[in-house]
Amino acid sequence: MSEERVAEVLAAHAEELLGRPGAMQEIHVTKVERERLAPLFRLAERIQQDMQPVQPSADFVRSLGKELVGGAKRQIALTKRLRRAALIGAAAIGSILSIASVIGAIVFVIARLRARSQAQTAHAPTG
């Protein structure tokens, strides 16, 4: 029996264990295959019997749920505050830059005007 076939048969057996009948029939598992894989089938049956879901205590579930929702509230509030601070910061930087550029433009124009008037005075005929 190839490894692929063994894996296929074991998977079908597990499906049947979990209440999905007909899975072994669908892939035509023979009597010989059943006999050969019987020890692994038994092991799978024991695992299924022994691995049962456990229940966390209701108090634990409730109190952790409350703590997490509280934590989520704080986290969202902090994110909003940081976002607002970043927005205000960006706006402040933007306005400072625009004021600086206006001042820079004024200084530039004044400087050019002053340079032009100085040049005119220098070239003006004397006497």
Binding site: L18, P56, V61, L68, A72, Q75
Partner: protein
């Protein structure tokens, strides 16, 4: 229980704390069970479940929905939390209280019950000795009762790979059990020899 999809709740959880609460309610039992079967005691299972969800809460603003189930992300967090716990525990060498309770003589009933309990414990211990991905596979199959296709989605593998992993897991478990049985037989015979002397 709410009918809203995981994706919708995740999107809402970035702005609405109650949405994270709903995701928690949806997955707390699965994550608790997963951790319980990997730690073998309720106290640590509670502690690590809390750590898993706190970590999920911290990272959910950056969660990107790539089509994989949300549970896969949670299991990955739980897996990392448990792996860290095992690493720390190996340094400290602690004995789980639940194991002591199970082996307590006050709980022993008729011989058959004790033998059954021992067998049950041995099998669970053998499961805990398996590689983490094999433990996860058995957990998803037998506790969560997922189909191979669903397990494949959660574990990020193909359905064929899951079937093959299941096969290898059963073979490894059987080999482990046979080894333990052989060791027990050896132990008994050497005890008998010692008492004869």
């Amino acid at each position: 229980m709410c009918d809203e999809s995981d994706s919708a709740l995740i999107a809402r959880a970035k702005e609405d704390p109650e949405a994270f609460g709903l995701l928690y309610e949806r997955y707390v039992k699965s994550i608790y069970n997963y951790i319980y079967y990997r730690t073998s005691n309720h106290h640590d299972a509670e502690d690590l479940t809390a750590r898993t969800f706190y970590r999920a809460l911290k990272h959910i603003p950056r969660y990107v929905d790539r089509g994989a189930p949300f549970s896969a992300w949670l299991y990955r967090i739980a897996h990392n939390v448990v792996a860290n716990w095992h690493r720390d525990r190996n340094r400290r060498q602690m004995i789980a209280l639940d194991n002591l309770v199970l082996k307590s003589p006050h709980r022993e009933g008729p011989i058959a019950t004790v033998e059954k309990r021992e067998e049950h414990e041995q099998l669970l211990q053998a499961v805990r000795r398996l590689a983490p991905d094999r433990q996860q596979l058995l957990f998803l199959k037998f506790i969560e009762e997922m189909k191979n296709a669903e397990i494949a989605e959660v574990m990020g593998r193909t359905e064929g790979a899951i079937k093959s992993l299941y096969h290898r897991t059963l073979v490894a478990l059987r080999a482990d059990e046979e080894l333990i049985k052989a060791e027990m037989v050896d132990g008994r015979s050497s005890n008998r020899e010692a008492s004869d002397e």
